[in-house]
Symmetry: C2
Subunit: 327 residues, 2 copies
């Protein structure tokens, strides 16, 4: 099977490719060919060098989608996007990449299929940003998408397109609404959501971290390992079980910041917790207060998608996957 | 105020313009200028000839939206669309007109506003086709949009764009999800929904009509007069009351085909009812079974939108507005 990952240089894209490097049969079939695409040339794990081709290409540029689809991959993971903050700051760029780039990909598949029959599996990275407040206590699977950002709007539009193109058998699509990924590896960044990961990752590495909100802030999480699991499962699963409602809120863990900290104390001790410096930031507090806090992701759970059920597990996964198993 | 109606040659567009002809103050302010746009040159009621300019123009063609927006109307009614059946049969045309045409209009407004401040009121005709089965008994205001047609998908996408552009103060948008309009004036057409109107309009005119489904079929209705009322109210209302959820399911009447027939009997007698010929059509029955049957349109009602509450009223409106008050 020829598998294509668009957005292969991003955090989840890289982890997905690493998963293929570690487990040849991760998708339930042999990957005979792997095409890794991103705006910068994505890294290729050495063990995949025989089958993988990296491509530096911007999906939103004229002809780019056609070039990719002409390779006729059987499975396409589409993870490429301008992130939320940038899509909000740059209206044109956000719509161009997140909406027009995705639509160009969908259209290229349609035209390729008109030329010669072709119905790839397509897994699309969506986001809980498709939802906008006010929310019920738990957001159910039939709650409407009323995004309050252009990023969320672009993702919600692509979800609608994905469902329509799948209904017409142009491709076999699954939209994956990701929770906030925690613990996000790497350096602290300026994303408003960064502290959720920072207050675990930095203390685990013996570094200070800033907590800008109170401990009673609730949010919706899954580990990077779960995120990869979602994409792998979506590529393997029997999509005839999904029906026409192709976009699924992934399972996750609803937890308080205080619960994150308690889990850190259990796993890494008081010394780690002492590295969290409280520095209230009303701007971040206000942004975060508009985010979803809890979901009843029943459909995805019934369809076999799995995430963590407590924060100890999320921290242990970070220690295993990023810190070589020890702190 | 300069008012523009795009789709002014369609059934509701014409009735909206007739409303302006009958009631100078319908919108709560003077219409100083009226631009009437459609792919064919729309009719101009004689009493509006001093202020109205008809324009034959296809919104989906390059430069068309810019041409309209350069006139800087303060209120834009956007009713232009390819209908459901055609959008399903012709993928390219449906997306080109219903999605790209609408987006071109929105983008033209954004660019005009960047050139010189400009935030028109924009009222967009959406549809209950944004919903797809299975449904709850009553579809509430927070139920998700999972259209099962390309037409419904295009409308749902435009709703998302409308909300995002309004949130960014590019325009002041209101999306109006219309019920099935009944009694639709004119000749019987081949739309699968046509019989809902045919079985009233034709007998009222002394003609036979075919009923292709059973009397226990339930559906969601409003009169053409209510539809015009929705648009007028959306143009007059205080949009600060709506908040960011800019797309509203309009109130309507949930009724059985049997209730339509009983109302016809009450208003026009047994003679009229006898003109309904039962001719079951399994194809139409199957299409209709996928449509919404009932809504709890609480938000729109609270915001002052009004529709009929029984079928006698719907029939009387048809007699008043289309048959000169007598049958």
């Amino acid at each position: 099977m020829h598998v294509m990952v668009i957005g292969a240089a991003g955090m989840i894209g890289r982890k997905l490719v690493e998963k293929f490097a570690l487990e040849a049969g991760a998708l339930g079939y042999d990957i005979g060919k792997l095409t890794l695409v991103d705006v910068i040339e994505p890294p290729v794990p050495p063990s995949l060098s025989a089958i993988a081709t990296p491509l530096a290409l911007d999906l939103s540029k004229d002809g780019a989608a056609e070039k990719l689809v002409a390779l006729r991959p059987g499975v396409i993971f589409h993870l490429a996007a301008i992130v939320s903050g940038e899509a909000e700051a740059d209206f044109d760029k956000g719509y161009q990449v997140n909406l027009d780039g995705t639509r160009a990909l969908f259209e290229a598949i349609r035209h390729e299929g008109l030329r010669e029959p072709y119905i790839p599996r397509l897994i699309f990275a969506s986001s809980i940003a498709v939802f906008g407040q006010p929310f019920p206590d738990k957001i159910g699977d039939t709650f409407f998408t009323t995004p309050l950002t252009s990023y969320g709007t672009q993702k919600a539009i692509c979800e609608l397109l994905l469902a329509d193109y799948s209904r017409r058998d142009i491709f076999d699509g699954v939209g994956i609404r990701l929770p906030t990924i925690c613990v996000r590896p790497g350096k602290p960044n300026k994303a408003a959501s960064g502290f959720f990961s920072n207050i675990l990752r930095e203390p685990l590495a013996g570094q200070e971290a800033v907590l800008p909100v109170d401990e009673d802030v609730r949010h919706w999480f899954a580990s990077p390992r779960s995120a990869v699991g979602f994409f792998v499962h979506a590529a393997r699963m029997d999509t005839s079980l999904i029906g026409p409602r192709r976009n699924l809120t992934m399972p996750g863990l609803s937890a308080l910041v205080g619960e994150e900290i308690e889990a850190l104390r259990r796993v890494a001790g008081e010394k780690a917790v002492k590295l969290i410096r409280r520095k209230p930031d009303p701007v971040i507090r206000s942004i975060v207060s508009g985010w979803p806090t809890d979901f009843d992701a029943r459909r995805a759970s019934e369809l076999g998608f799995k995430a963590e059920t407590n924060f100890d597990e999320i921290i242990r996964i970070h220690i295993e996957d990023e810190l070589g198993g020890q702190i």
